[in-house]
Symmetry: C2
Subunit: 190 residues, 2 copies
Amino acid sequence: MATIRDLILKNRSYRRFDQSYRIDEKTLRELVELARCSATAANRQPLKFMLSFEPAENELIFKTVGFARQLSWQGPAEGEKPSAYIIILGDLDISKSFGCDHGIAAQSILLGAVERGLGGVMLGSANKDVLRASLKIPEKYDILLVVALGKPKETVVLETVGPDGKTTYWRDEKSVHHVPKRTLEELIVR
Amino acid sequence: MATIRDLILKNRSYRRFDQSYRIDEKTLRELVELARCSATAANRQPLKFMLSFEPAENELIFKTVGFARQLSWQGPAEGEKPSAYIIILGDLDISKSFGCDHGIAAQSILLGAVERGLGGVMLGSANKDVLRASLKIPEKYDILLVVALGKPKETVVLETVGPDGKTTYWRDEKSVHHVPKRTLEELIVR
C-alpha cells in the first residue's frame, strides 16, 4: 500500500535478477489484467499479450533482446536473467497503428510488478524476426515491446544530468546503475 | 494509499468535471514529477510538458481537442470542462521518434491524479495546428498528447464486450458512460 510516487520511484528499469525466483502464470495474468483495465486509444484495445515463465522459453526470448545497449555489457549473466516475460503485441486485425497504447500497458504492468516486490524493464530493441520465428508469433501481430520481469538484484539510482547534458546511464565499480535524469525545470517548458 | 489495482480501476477516462474546482500549478508540477521519474526509451527523456490551469488558456486548449469522438456529443458543457491540461510534447532537438514514452508518462500522470481525487483523459485527437498557433508552441516540439484533468463528475463503468465484438463506448439515459472491455482470455494469446 505505497503511494503512487513511492511505486514510481521504486519502478526503475531493472536488468539483473535473482533468476532462481520463479514467477508463475497467475501473477503474469494479474499483471495483464492491470493493462486490460488501462486506457487505450478510442477504446480499440488492439494489444495482445504473450506470457513466458518457463526457463526454456525464457531463454529463447532472452537471446533476442538487447539489454542496456548503452553499456558495454552483454546483458545479465546466467543466474541473473529475468524469470518471466510479457510480450506486448499489436493485433493488426484490430488496428494498423497502436499509438502509445503499449507504453500505457507496460507502465501498468511494471507498477503492478513493483507492488509485488518484483521489477523489470521495457525492452524495445528485440530482434523481432528471430523472436517471431522462435516463438512462432503469427504475422497478424506486430511485436511492440518485450517486458522482462524478475526479482531485482541490482541497485539503480537516479541522479541529475550534469553540465555536459549527457543522459547515458552508467555503472560504477560496485555495479550500481546510475541514471541521469533531466530536472523538472528542464522538462516543464511553461 | 490504495493498491495499484484500485488506482487503475478508478483511473477511467473522465470527460466531465466540476469545472469550479481549480487545480493549481503545484499539483501539475507534482504530476509531471511522476512522469519525470518514469521510464523513457534509452533514457533519452525527450518529452517536455506544458501546463495550463488558468481558465483563459484552458479554453484555448479546449477548443482544439476532441472529446469522445465515438459519441454524438460536442464534449463537456460549460461548467463541466477540465480544470487543467498537461500537454505532452516531443522535443525534436533530442529525438526524432518518441516511441511510447508519452503513454508511459501520461499513465503516471493520470494515476497520480486519481490518487489525489482527480481524474482525466488522454486526448490524442487535438487539432495540432490550431493548438500550436493558439499556445505559440515552437516547431521544435511535436505535440504528442493532451492530458485533460479535473475533478470527475461522471460515472464510468467497465463491462464485457458483447457477442457483436463492438468496443464502442456509449452513454445510457442517466449519462453513465459504459466502456466495453475485451476479456483477459481474448487478450492473452498464450
